[in-house]
Amino acid sequence: MENEKHHIVPYLTHIMVLLGLIVLTVITVLITSVELGAYNTTAALIIASLKGAVVLLYFMHLKFDHKIYWVMVSIVIAIFAAVIVVTFFDYLYR
């Protein structure tokens, strides 16, 4: 573990990521203020997931760290997604 190299993320990257996240937040607010029917929630959730992915990859260093963290997080998200799918199959088709 000693030879693991540490990638130093430049300050500018963090600033750009922050600006991106703020823009996405503004888009979410704007998109949910217009009438799109059921697509409003879908759009809001897609943007939220996008923001979540950016936070995980850049702020939480998944993009730069050892791959094992990325694999672990992916497995947890996959398990969570599976539970959502199963729950909704149950409620939609019972």
Binding site: M1, E2, E4, H6, I8, V9, P10, Y11, H14, I15, V17, L18, L21, I22, T25, T28, V29, T32, S33, E35, L36, N40, T41, A44, L45, I47, A48, K51, G52, V55, L56, Y58, F59, M60, H61, H66, I68, Y69, M72, V73, V76, I77, F80, V83, I84, T87, F88, Y91
Partner: protein, 207 residues
Amino acid sequence: METMTHQHHADAHRDDTASKIGMWLFIFTEILLFGGLFIVYSVYRHMNPVAFHLAHEELSITMGFINTIILLVSSATVAISISAIQKNDRKLTLLMLGITLLLALTFLVNKYFEWGGKFEHGMYPGSELMKNLSNGDMLFFSLYFFMTGLHGVHIIVGMVLLGITLYKVKTGAVNSGRYALLENSGLYWHLVDLIWIFLFPLFYLIH
């Protein structure tokens, strides 16, 4: 560099990677805790779409938006503080951690006014007003108070962690050769931000 290597070997039990993996494992339990609540929310919203839509109009989008921006900025300042300590810039690390704590406090103050406004109108868990709400409204507000409340507790825990880290950066216990504590507190703080990223559209932006 030499002194760093020396420090390194002085502590045989140190394993930064292991401590980071441990932090991630803990974060997974947090993701599943809030994930479970999000599923509960989704199912009840699916069963009470109209009530959830009407009830959400009681919440201020502006307040939610401001708090979202506050958390995003605070997440960035923590990320910058990690880059700063890696570059051995202690001053910037301390400044960024200080700003983060200040932003966290602002978030809580906003939350205080937000919840306080609800309480003044007699809307709080267990109140007469809430007992007389329809099923759907009651579910919305119960979930709102529980989930944002639990998130608020996480903000406080995050502030304690970041406060301890700030102190240790000050004393030099956390430095450019040894900053696992800062990284792990940072991960926790980003988690708090991550949860809010989903709480905001689901409670404040229902269309």
